[in-house]
């Protein structure tokens, strides 16, 4: 008896209220089939406007040139690359949750994987905009980014450069994440097709579900395909931010030229990605009343992941300073002293406060299980992670080897509006996702209910 009580305290149920299969279908499909709350319309009006701002800023840039941004010698990479790394980092939580936690048989991923994967796709879409427009002539970028025969120069990419590795990593990641997401969606799309009342919905979901009929022969291939995709995606997630970090680490700039970058970047990516999942999930579970499926246990686990990855990131910050001193390299030492106490000290300490000090509050269960606390902390973590990329990029560049060329980067209003606009695009895509597609995998939740029914008491 006591054992059972303790086990329930340690392993609370992942789905509350003991729903039957039909309840899961009704609840999750009901969101897509019903009317959206008024707050949804207000939100999309706002984020849609911001998306238009993004379109306007990018159009202006394409017609004028990248001088509309504040990038200039010596800071040639500034907010655009900061935003790129920021969004790509956020895009890491989705595939981590759907692939790595799947392989580790972490069953709490079940209610949140669809949601996190969607977030991944939209974050990667936002990320892609920045390097593309950083080229200044995005309509010609296909010749620079992809090995497409170039009719004017007959020249190819330099495959020795990490920048081209990055193109392959990010485009592969976007494609594979989309495939993984769609594969997971197909059985749920069939459910929506079979529930559809209007002809338009029948046709759209009929086509999207590809005629899925839940046959045992289908599931046999499907389950293996899903497992294989998880197995393939696991090293992929780790490779993407590793290769993003090569953009810096393979250069010879003090502050960038560091072998610690790949694990440090991957941990930071997971950190910021989970923070974004928590920020959005806290809102969605409130607005759409999903507390039954997204329990405090889910949120608490994500907060624990943030705490762990935050510690890794903090350890990396400390290691960088230690190596700067221990290596005896005077340029390295200068860059790090300049980073913490130079003109960008405020950015550095914002980063450390948000990423290292603040997540320590999650040691307390009271904080970890408080919705307002985790909402605020998760937003501040993403503020901190944006500043981390800003600090790495700008502080390493603004005082280079020639003191006569030192400078101080200042963003232009176009920089700021483009960043704000990218949030508009991200959130608009997200709002459309929750409107039109099931945000919780009905198939997987039902499978978990069946496993619980077959093995009562064997919960984790």
């Amino acid at each position: 008896m006591a054992d059972l009580a303790i086990s329930q305290e340690l392993n609370p149920a992942l789905v509350l209220g003991e729903p039957v299969y039909a309840d899961v279908t009704r609840k999750v499909s009901g969101i897509v089939e019903g009317r959206m709350p008024r707050s949804w319309y207000i939100a999309i009006a706002f984020t849609g406007t911001l998306t238009l701002v993004l379109a306007a800023m990018l159009t202006y840039l394409a017609f004028t040139g990248i001088g509309v941004w504040g990038n200039n010698s010596p800071v040639g990479w500034a907010w655009d690359i900061t935003n790129f790394v920021f969004w790509i980092g956020i895009g890491h939580a989705g595939t981590l949750i759907s692939a790595i936690l799947f392989l580790f048989r972490q069953r709490w991923r079940t209610s949140i994987n669809r949601f996190a994967e969607a977030m991944t796709l939209f974050a990667v879409a936002c990320a892609g905009i920045f390097p593309l427009f950083h080229t200044g002539r995005p309509w010609r970028a296909v010749y620079w980014l992809f090995p497409v025969p170039n009719p004017a120069l007959h020249i190819w990419q330099n495959f020795r450069s990490p920048l081209i590795w990055d193109v392959f990593a990010v485009s592969t990641y976007a494609t594979v994440s989309a495939l993984f997401w769609y594969t997971g969606l197909v059985p749920d799309l069939a459910t929506l097709r079979d529930r559809a009342k209007t002809r338009a919905r029948k046709i759209v979901f009929g086509l999207l579900s590809l005629g899925w009929r839940g046959s045992a022969r289908h599931w046999r291939h499907y389950e293996l395909a899903y497992l294989l995709l998880a197995g393939i995606s696991t090293p992929l997630v780790l490779s993407v931010h590793t290769i993003v970090s090569f953009d810096f680490a393979v250069s010879v700039i003090p502050g960038w030229h560091s072998t610690i970058f790949p694990p440090y970047f991957v941990a930071g990516a997971i950190f910021s990605g989970f923070a974004m999942v928590v920020t959005l999930m806290v809102i969605a579970r409130q607005v759409f009343d999903l507390k039954q499926f997204v329990t405090m246990k889910h949120l608490e686990n994500m907060n624990k992941v943030m705490m762990a990855t935050g510690l890794i990131v903090g350890f990396a910050y400390a290691t960088e300073f230690f190596i700067a001193w221990y290596s005896g390299n005077r340029y390295e030492r200068f860059v790090f002293l300049n980073r913490a106490f130079g003109p960008y000290w405020w950015a550095y300490w914002t980063m450390v406060s948000c990423n290292v000090f603040l997540p320590q509050l999650f040691w307390f269960k009271r904080v970890r299980t408080s919705i307002p606390a985790m909402f605020i902390i998760s937003i501040l973590i993403n503020v901190g992670m944006w500043f981390e990329r800003f600090v790495i990029i700008v502080t390493s560049l603004h005082r280079d080897f020639l003191p006569s060329s030192w400078g101080y980067f200042r963003p232009t209003p176009i920089d700021m509006l483009t960043l704000a606009g990218s949030f508009g695009l991200f959130l608009t895509l997200f709002l459309l996702f929750v409107r039109f597609l099931p945000m919780i995998s009905m198939t997987e939740v039902k499978g978990m209910l069946a496993a619980d029914a077959a093995h009562p008491g064997d919960r984790p």
Partner: protein, 178 residues
Amino acid sequence: MSQSAIYGAVAEFASPESLLAAIRGVRERGYSRLDAFTPFPVHGIDEALGAPRSPLGWIVLATGLAGAAAALMLIWWTGAINYPLVVAGKPLFAFEFSIPITFELAVLFASFGAVIGMFLFNGLPRLYHPVFQHSRFEHATDDRFLLAIEADSDGFEAAAAVETLRALGGEHVEVIAA
């Protein structure tokens, strides 16, 4: 109705356990071609149906290797053959700097192999299937478990198949036209 115009007899069950019990019962009676339609993958159904393991892993391995080979060919041919250009004194081709793109293209091709292979093995996309005619098929993607004895089973006879499914506890037993 002639035998060839029938897809099979389809019955509904309320739980995965009753479905699995019915599959075993139907197989004991000698029916060889069965299919089940379920809202989620039912644990143990492949063993009950006697289905072999999916060969998809081999497709994924092959496409993954093809992706890696394509990447190495691309980097070698463009950089060392078609337009040799020395940059920063580095070699025209080396495996070391080819690793990231080789890995990424292997993953990309393998993922397409997994997804496209899965749909092709499943005969999808196929927007129509006879079982959709079952009056309660919409529950097969919601909360119920359908079991079909297909007409090409050895010794299939519609009335006997319906009787068998009823005897095993199946509800809404229907003979479905092909």
